[in-house]
């Protein structure tokens, strides 16, 4: 017979051990809190993010017994919780998008993002684009922003939202069709490459 199983690597190992030694879960907090906070602050605002990010980890901690230990990476799980919590603030989110439509993005990032931001403003599409995002059904917006703001892969989005992979693709495709309309693209073959990155 083989030796008793070793702990799974990565986050799953930590979470598994934290079931009996709760203080170990702090490593998950340390690894992901800043990132989850940033995602929520971008989607909503920093103040709301302070509250929701904390709540994300409280929910995660309470639910750690049910974490699927065959998943070495906890990121999709945590983004899923954060997205669910953000779902209680949909009206705030729509209001925020309307505000984004009017002003620039704030602290300008260097390089590529800056050029795109400038172009978005210059072409006058900020308003239509923001309104298009705000008008998306919640499920499509969640998939879109997990990819664009969270940098999750389709598989990770499927895990985060607990939906089939096919649902992720179709939601994103539908969302992108509407976004392209808002950008004034009528050519469906235009620029199909994935632009999303962290």
């Amino acid at each position: 017979m083989i030796a008793p199983p070793e702990a799974p690597p990565g986050d799953a190992g930590v979470i598994g051990r934290s079931r009996d030694e709760p203080e170990l879960f702090g490593a998950i907090f340390d690894a992901y809190f800043a990132e989850i906070h940033r995602y929520l602050a971008r989607r909503l605002d920093a103040h709301t993010a302070d509250d929701l990010a904390a709540e994300t980890f409280a929910v995660a901690f309470r639910g750690r017994d049910r974490y699927d230990l065959s998943r070495p990476n906890a990121r999709p799980w945590l983004y899923g919780i954060a997205t669910n919590l953000a779902g209680r603030h949909r009206r705030d989110e729509r209001r925020k998008l309307t505000a984004l439509a009017r002003v620039g993005p704030g602290a300008a990032a260097a390089g590529h993002e800056d050029a795109v931001a400038a172009r978005v403003t210059a072409e006058g599409v900020r308003g239509p684009l923001a309104r298009a995002v705000a008008a998306l059904p919640a499920g499509q917006r969640d998939v879109l922003l997990l990819v664009v703001l969270g940098g999750l892969s389709y598989e990770e989005v499927a895990v985060a939202l607990d939906v089939p992979f096919g649902t992720v693709s179709s939601r994103l495709n539908r969302a992108r069709k509407k976004l392209r309309k808002a950008l004034g693209d009528t050519d469906p073959l235009l620029d199909d490459q994935e632009g999303a990155s962290r």
Binding site: P9, R38, A46, F61, V120, L145, D191
Partner: protein
Amino acid sequence: MNDLDAVRALYPEDPPAPSAHTVAAARLRMTAAAPPPRRRWRLKAGLGLVAAATAGAAALTLLPSGGTPKPPGTVLSPQALLLAAATKAEKEPSKGAYWYTKRIDGMQRFPLGKDYLLDRRVEREVWAPSSPKEYSWGIERLLGIKPVDEAAWKRDGSPREWKVRGDGDFPAGRAGCIGPLGEGMNRSLTVTASPGERYALPWGAQPGWSGYAGHSYSVAQLAAMPVDPGALKVRLLKDMKRFGDGMTARDLDAWIFDLGIRLLVDRPAPSALRAAVYRMLAALPGVAGRGRVTDALGRTGQAIAMSRNAVETRIVVDPATGRLLSTEEVALYPGIERRKGQLLRYELIQEARWTARRPALPAERRNLTKDGVPVKEACKRYGS
């Protein structure tokens, strides 16, 4: 401009970071709201329990592990399974003239114009030499073609002949390699249900090489491969770069998984390298457990999977021996001439070991020139 980039540009790139106070408060809040944790109770020589619990502890157990009792043969995490296989692999001696595998290789395809899948099986031996002077050989025999859905086949009049689209892997009567550059590809070929005779064909373009296309390695290369799992992955990623950039990290991990399996199945890899491959696979993100399974030869093991776009690669490992029992590639989604759950390829591994024996090649030989040398273009099939 790209719509996703434009959406990202709507949002602030660097919103205000949480203050140290916010972070500390969040950390405290995380554990403060939790119910008291289960503590371990240790049984001491029948004289009572040594309790480390606080008041209100739930879920008492009398087992030293503190968990619920697990039945024997419990399902291991994929990582635990792969690491156990690594330990087994590195203990095996790697001596012999050839790494010998015997297996049943199969694949399922739709015949043209039909609504049922055909399953085509080949009995295949691969002899991969440890010497750089010997050729790798495959000795094969077509076992036959069967419909997967017998009822649909009967409704079709129980044919024993079908037209299929040649795709390099499913050509008429020819296992393995396609003909010179593209012959048979996308043409309609006729296949029959009947089994065939044994024949030999080269399993590498040159002496000491085994495998084709992106999965070929020489004896010298295998001997020089790093046996640290991290370094091995770096090395294989460099090899994968030959196929171009533009693969996401997730795609690369999936290809690494597939390449690792090829190294395990039919390359003459030394024991230390096999163990390193198992450990490398164990560390891949995205590797998932698929529980206990019984394969088509009636053997039980535990399955591990890695998905890549629309295809999932699964392997079955026997937890008792650490042996790799079978591999398969499964279609995850329906598509053109594709059904969800369709076995695009599978291998049922019957034997895999070093041997001092040499292959006894049958009289019929394929894909060799008049001088007995492998035809160069014949075996560009990707993936074996």
